[in-house]
């Protein structure tokens, strides 16, 4: 499991980085989205991934249910907010790219006038 996860996170980070370094602003935003997903998967894998069972869900069956079998709720809480925030950031970056395109007339950052 760890190996597959590590390979996935590594590949996603590599591809995200490659996209972020492109000239095209939309590709940069896409790259940041990929990087976000990679970071989220990394965070979740830091909590340790166990085979899904009735106890592994961090929502206790009842008040007072035994609790030590659950998946790590802390990383889930972190990722939950990260998802929503990354959406806000992506929207902002898209708007920024759009405005940059409007001002400069091109999506290519290397063609911008100083």
């Amino acid at each position: 499991m760890t190996l597959a996860l590590a390979a996935t996170v590594g590949a996603l980070f590599a591809l995200g980085t490659f996209l972020v370094l492109r000239e095209d602003l939309v590709k940069v935003v896409l790259g940041l989205a990929v990087l976000t997903q990679a970071a989220n998967v990394y965070l979740i894998s830091m909590g340790g991934i166990t085979e899904g069972t009735a106890d592994s869900v961090p929502i206790l069956a009842a008040h007072g249910a035994k609790a030590h079998e659950t998946a790590d709720p802390l990383v889930q809480a972190l990722v939950l907010t990260a998802i929503v925030i990354s959406f806000g950031m992506t929207a902002f970056l898209l708007t920024l790219s759009y405005r940059a395109y409007q001002e400069n007339g091109t999506m290519n950052v290397t063609e911008w006038e100083q």
């Binding site: 929502i59 998802i83 929503v84 959406f87 806000g88 929207a91 898209l94 708007t95 759009y98």
Partner: protein, 175 residues
């Protein structure tokens, strides 16, 4: 809902009403009519049950946003103003002056205030900033009901998410 007919004879309004018919297909509009209330109900239920089941302010918030964007996609940006609230819209004005946009702005400011306020409320009880508490209340029909102060905090989050994201959608969509 205000059902006053006072604005309907203005040309702008009529043009908008006519336009809805051409914005999307009838299938789309009918589906939206059916689905949007369901999404809203689900999102509110997710928001309310958040403390004990999957859900909470963030999820309820984004689901509500999805419902509203569905309305936008199906009927256009002004439908909520003109079609639902029967208000007039000044089309020449910028999006910043748009009433829904300022409503969303007020909504997330309200959300932020509620969030911080719930934190300050804890100070009144001599607790630390943002610490929460809960109690059980006996209601006649429902039996024991848990009342958590965290719900107020979650409401703030809900409002922030709904207000902030819908603001983004309406502003970007108006471009």
């Amino acid at each position: 809902m205000r059902l006053s007919e006072s604005h309907t004879d203005e040309p702008n309004h009529e043009a908008a009403v006519r336009r809805w018919a051409t914005v999307t297909t009838t299938i789309m509009r009918t589906t939206a009519r059916v689905v949007v209330p369901i999404i809203l109900v689900v999102s509110i239920s997710l928001f309310l049950q958040g403390h004990n089941y999957p859900g909470g302010g963030f999820i309820g918030g984004v689901l509500t946003v999805a419902a509203f964007t569905l309305v936008y996609v199906a009927y256009g940006l002004d439908y909520l103003e003109v079609g639902v609230l029967n208000r007039d819209v000044d089309y020449s004005a910028g999006i910043y002056e748009h009433r829904t946009v300022s409503a969303y702005r007020r909504l997330f400011i309200f959300g932020l205030a509620v969030t911080v306020g719930s934190g300050l409320g804890a100070l009144l009880f001599g607790e630390q900033f943002l610490s929460q508490d809960y109690t059980y209340v006996h209601l006649p029909l429902f039996g024991e009901v848990e009342l958590a102060s965290a719900l107020v905090f979650d409401l703030g989050i809900f409002c922030v998410v709904v207000g902030g994201l819908l603001l983004i959608f309406s502003v970007v969509g108006a471009e």
